[in-house]
Amino acid sequence: MTPNLFTRIGPISINNPTILASGILGISINVFNRIYESGAGAVVTKSISVLPSDGYDGPNMFSIGDQGWLNAIGLSNPGVDNFSKILKQNKKIPIVVSLVGSNEHDFVNMIQKLRNMQILAYEINLSCPHVEKVGLDVGDDPDLVYRIIKNIDSITEVPIIAKVGLGSTNYLDTVRAACDGGADAITAINTLRAMSIDIETMRPILGNKIGGLSGKPIKTIAVRCVYEISSKYDIPIIGCGGISSWQDAIEFILAGASAVQIGSIINYKWLKIFSDINDGIIKYMSKKKIYSIGEMVGISKRF
């Protein structure tokens, strides 16, 4: 028997557990294809909203050192109508469409416009930490989360992933609301609210002043969330946050993730990161005599 990278995230099956995270390089179908050919098991689109949005003024993203990043792109995206034209071209790529909105109507509206397209799953962004009335502002309201997921579930057969982050309520309540509403999986976590001030000009650097922290600095927090969710609820999890190597990917899987999303590290390691992680996982599995990703998921909880 040889180890196999195939993984199942509830109803979603992919050939390997590395997924491009939302908002990373994610608006062009040709870029998605390139990333898929580089080895990603699936790709998630930039979060799409009902109307197009230009996002915030810059600086939109910069490094804080040690492979940590701040960003406040402001959910710029072409809007669902333009995006559906892009998506129509998809033939073969396992694309997860990330959606962002303020209430159940926004999501229902968008999903109706995306009918009959080649979509692996929807990822509902309940966690962008720096745009008002969407993202975390929604995630922080478990009742609203329940209504949104329930409504989406009632109009589509496409699997639903709820993406959670750390906001101003207990994110585990958001997870529960999503589960109750019918979510098929959870992605954890999004960026964490953060800021930097330039001491020379004495100003906040990001155009939006406050943004989201991603990359290495958030890894141990993200691992903790995956572990907590998988200890408390019986729902498949996609780990995300600061993954930069195959070792990190394994750590998330041992914590309880069935797959992982890769974001900011792409700046350093570029698209090779997907095959690097997959190769590393295979070697680890061989050494440990583990033959499927499923066997590894959540092993650390035994101890």
Binding site: G23, I24, L25, G26, I27, S28, N30, V31, N33, R34, K46, P52, S53, D54, G55, D57, G58, P59, N60, M61, F62, S63, I64, G65, W69, N71, I73, S76, N77, P78, G79, N82, I86, D198, E200, T201, R203, I205, G207, G263, S264, I266, N267, W270
Partner: protein, 276 residues
């Protein structure tokens, strides 16, 4: 400790002096060893505190350890940059992107507007054995700039500087592409380098490729991160900030977005309206 600096974090610099190039174009000079060493075609992300951050080609300075940006005022952001005074701060991160591959022998540079900036840096890297022709395109006489600078930079080279203006108020009347077309018939170029309005580049590339001449162009797209993360600069499968900004002409001609469409700040695809 400049060498320990995080290339990806805005580094604050003071504007030291300003050169008025035309009524709408100014050059802002600042001290920065790292930027001063950037290669032709490379760009920086320039933070205008309180306003926005814009990608800017890194302009040469004739002083050591200095670099510059040459800015045309267009929208509010570039206008805010244009209006900065000496002593005020900007933040710079980078340099980013790849660079022109300068061939030996006869080379032709074709630039329009602030697209001339990377070509001025390229002139700093030519060798005395390069025979250089430079075409500067502008709409009208008082929008022509860098002519004197180019002369100085080319003082050790056999060279020819050709100006074209659309209204004929200075140099030749017409488009740069008229000149390119003629030159391609008379001279065998080892390399052509172009930067400027996309349709100008597109046309120039078509001319060069039809003659099988090596040509590179530096492409512009909306850039929000500059580091291959946000996707705002995508053009088909390419991320201009990471794969570019410099591409070979024949590669660009195979691309069904270059010359035809670009993405606005929301990522929506916008078709170029002018005819090519």
């Amino acid at each position: 400790m400049e060498f320990l600096r995080d290339f990806n974090k805005p580094h604050t610099c003071k504007i030291e002096y300003i050169i008025n190039e035309t009524p709408t174009v100014r050059t802002f000079v600042f001290s920065d060893t790292i930027m001063s060493k950037s290669l032709p075609g490379q760009f920086a992300m320039v933070w205008i505190p309180g306003i926005n951050e814009l990608p800017m080609s890194i302009m040469v300075s004739n002083e050591k350890n200095k670099a510059a940006f040459t800015v045309r005022k267009r929208g509010i952001n570039s206008t805010a940059l244009y209006n900065l005074k000496p002593g005020q701060n900007i933040g710079v991160r980078g340099p980013y992107g790849n660079n022109f591959n300068i061939k030996n022998g006869n080379i032709l540079l074709v630039g329009g507007g602030t697209g001339l900036v990377p070509l001025m840096r390229l002139l700093k890297f030519v060798t005395p054995s390069n025979n250089v022709k430079l075409i500067i395109g502008a709409s009208t006489q008082n929008e022509v700039f860098f002519e004197n600078l180019a002369k100085i930079l080319l003082k050790n080279n056999v060279h020819d500087i050709i100006i074209t203006t659309i209204d004929g108020s200075y140099g030749r009347k017409g488009l740069v592409t008229d000149v390119v077309s003629e030159l391609l018939n008379t001279t065998k170029f080892n390399g052509i380098y172009t930067c400027g309005p996309e349709l100008m580049m597109f046309h120039t590339i078509k001319l060069a490729v039809s003659k099988k001449v090596f040509i590179q162009a530096s492409v512009e797209r909306i850039m929000k991160c500059g580091i291959g993360i946000c996707g705002s600069c995508s053009m088909n499968e390419n991320l201009i900030c990471k794969d570019g900004t410099v591409f070979n002409g024949n590669y660009l001609l195979e691309n069904n977005e270059f010359g035809f469409s670009y993405r606005d700040k929301s990522g929506s695809i916008i078709k170029y309206t002018s005819k090519v």
